[in-house]
């Protein structure tokens, strides 16, 4: 057997009464990788995941898991586990019963069930909570029960739909690390849906950025950051996002082009020496640096970073400069133009 990708999605589309869900989704996911589906609300991340899980059937295209065509297979035949955005815990069952539910359904012997349960609870730090009902747990604990239920099955593919969206920032950070560690330790393949780009960028080997039911770019995080395919990716990825300047504001570019520049590549220079003169709209202290928001007639999202606490008065005008090698060039339709290097 050839060692093709573990999961392959080929030109899949899903519509509801003609209304677009997703379209032209083509994606290869290698075994043991961590893939994040990223995009704004309603872009089709959940739909893609549910198609993969078998909870929805595609109108077009094919899906392969482990070399098998599973396009029309039932969810249970796909050998995967899933963590739902809403946890989907059974409210009347205790933590332990929730976790072993699937094992019981598959008639796993009691002794083995006990062992697996113990291990899953150990990994997720839930020992001692066996007899609680989901209603008696905090959001983070429920989250971990859902995780435990997904890993206890021992499937090689695990799908997660915004598993951290209900947690506070601090908990999110720690559970994020837990999930990443778990994935590495168990060597499983994870497909992870999120609308939070820091989450996607920090966890994933591959990020799939989607918009309006279409994939915009697939690649490792640094590639999305350093070589955005189009202006949407440029403006979505990175905090702060890339600023876009229309070619009217700069000399030496064709009409209709747009130039992207990241905040860290912009310098403030004395009056009269810069390439653009902008007005300061806000200064935001971020801790180790200060973000200065700028306004210019031909640009959107311009900002510059200054180290330390360096608030600047709003309404002042300053000059900024940058070098051409840091500019990302996009054509009139927003597509990246390969730079001549």
């Amino acid at each position: 057997m050839t060692t093709g990708p573990f999961v392959a999605i080929k030109d899949v589309a899903k519509r509801w009464n003609g209304q677009l869900g997703v379209e032209g989704i083509t994606l290869d996911i290698p075994e043991g990788s961590f893939t994040a589906l990223l995009g704004p609300s309603g872009c089709g991340k959940s739909t893609t995941l549910r198609l993969l899980a078998g909870l929805e059937l595609p109108d077009e295209g094919k899906i392969f898991i482990d070399g098998k065509d599973v396009t029309t297979s039932a969810a249970s035949d796909r050998n995967l586990s899933m963590v739902f955005q809403s946890y989907a815990l059974f409210p009347h069952l205790s933590v332990a019963e929730n976790v072993v539910f699937g094992l019981k359904v598959r008639r796993v012997p009691k002794l083995e069930r006990q062992k697996k349960l113990h291990r899953a609870l150990e990994i997720t730090g839930l020992l001692g909570y066996e007899d609680r009902k989901p209603g008696e747990l905090s959001g983070g604990q429920r989250q971990r029960v859902a995780l435990a239920r997904a890993i206890v099955a021992g499937q090689r593919l695990c799908l997660m739909d915004e598993p951290l969206s209900n947690l506070d920032a601090k908990l999110r950070n720690s559970v994020r690390k837990d999930i990443k560690k778990l994935q590495r330790d168990l060597g499983i393949t994870v497909v992870y849906v999120t609308h939070d780009q820091t989450e996607a960028m920090s966890m994933a080997d591959t990020v799939v950025l989607m918009k309006d039911g279409h994939i915009q770019q697939v690649g490792p995080p640094e590639e999305l950051y350093n070589k955005p395919n189009n202006t949407f990716v440029a403006e979505f990825v990175g905090a702060p996002a890339m600023a876009l300047i229309s070619s009217d504001g700069l000399s030496g570019f064709e009409a209709g082009q747009r130039l992207g520049i990241r905040a860290e590549n912009i310098q403030i220079v004395p009056k009269g020496e810069g390439r653009l003169t902008c007005t300061i709209t806000e200064s935001e202290f971020l801790g180790s640096e200060t973000l200065i928001g700028l306004d210019h007639a031909h640009a959107t999202g311009l900002c510059v970073l200054k180290s330390g606490m360096a608030l600047m008065p709003e309404g002042d005008t300053i000059d900024i400069t940058f070098t051409d090698e840091h500019l990302h060039v996009f054509d009139a339709s927003g597509q990246r133009i390969a730079t001549q290097t």
């Binding site: 039932a74 409210p91 009347h92 209603g135 099955a153």
Partner: protein, 297 residues
């Protein structure tokens, strides 16, 4: 304890009592007081011109227990309850599970099931008269096609109670279905999906997830069905009047007969107290036992 907290607690208590008052007043006037006065009057003899009313203690009860008709009626009612409650609940659940699925004409199915409920019991009874009437009734018409002899469903002691039972089930199942349907809709879709991914069969999902989550509804419906099995006698007036030879007579009908046909109010009162006693025991069991073992959301 500080005086402040004490004052606050007293205020809360007064508040609570004020909120309770309207229900308490209504219940006292229309439930507690009549119960007590019924209990009181069941302890006295029936007054006639020659024998004035006098206190006889449990005399009415001993007389009742010696009355063979009373035991027939009790047996009838136990059978009536024992069949109508589980059967109508099972049918209601089955219909709800079906009508909650992804079937075509779902709205029509739900409406069709619910129709018997909106009919008054008297109208329903008249409708069924049209089925049961010997010779002319629909059942006999169908039977005659197959060459079966005409059967007087309501006129024979062997079939009269069963005919009544069927009307009740027909009437109640649709009503209970609505409760099950409402409860089914509160079960999140993703529980089914989570179970699906684990490879749970439809039957296992229903048994392990749906039924336990429906338990509060089931208890509610069971209590209602129990109350109805004592309370619902309208159709007796149209269909059998308790006959033939008491074969389809139920407790409440007998109480009514005792009070308003035989004018033996104390006897009727004694029977009423017995019914109330049984229902009270059931209610207590519900609160003390079942509620603790049921998952409420």
């Amino acid at each position: 304890m500080s005086a402040h907290a004490n004052l606050e607690r007293r205020r809360q208590a007064i508040y609570g009592w004020l909120l309770l008052t309207p229900a308490l007043v209504l219940l006292s006037v229309f439930a507690f007081y009549p119960t007590m006065s019924t209990l009181w009057s069941s302890l006295f003899s029936r007054g006639t011109r020659r024998n004035p009313v006098e206190y006889i203690g449990t005399g009415n009860y001993t007389e009742l227990f010696a009355d063979p008709t009373f035991w027939i009626v009790v047996k009838n009612n136990l059978l009536y309850a024992g069949v109508t409650i589980p059967v109508s609940m099972a049918i209601a659940l089955a219909m709800a599970l079906w009508a909650n699925g992804k079937i075509s004409a779902r709205g029509f199915v739900r409406t069709a099931y619910f129709t018997p409920t909106v009919l008054p019991m008297i109208a329903a009874a008249n409708l069924w008269l049209f089925f049961y009437t010997p010779g002319l009734g629909v059942l006999d018409q169908i039977g005659s096609v197959f060459g079966l002899p005409s059967i007087n469903w309501l006129g024979q002691p062997e079939t009269a109670l069963w005919a009544i039972i069927i009307v009740t089930i027909w009437k109640e199942a649709g009503f209970f279905m609505i409760f099950y349907l409402a409860a089914l809709q509160t079960i999140p879709e993703d529980l089914k999906e989570a179970a699906d991914i684990e490879g749970t069969s439809r039957w296992t999902y229903t048994r392990r997830i749906v039924l336990p989550l429906l338990m509060p509804t089931t208890i509610f419906i069971a209590i209602n069905a129990l109350i109805n099995s004592v309370k619902l006698i309208d159709h007796l007036f149209i269909l059998t009047k308790g006959g033939p030879s008491d074969a389809s007579k139920l407790l409440l009908y007998y109480i009514w007969e005792m009070a308003f046909a035989f004018f033996d109010a104390p006897q009727a009162a004694a029977m009423t107290i017995l019914v109330i006693g049984v229902l009270a025991i059931v209610a207590a069991a519900k609160f003390l036992y079942l509620d603790k073992r049921t998952h409420y959301q």
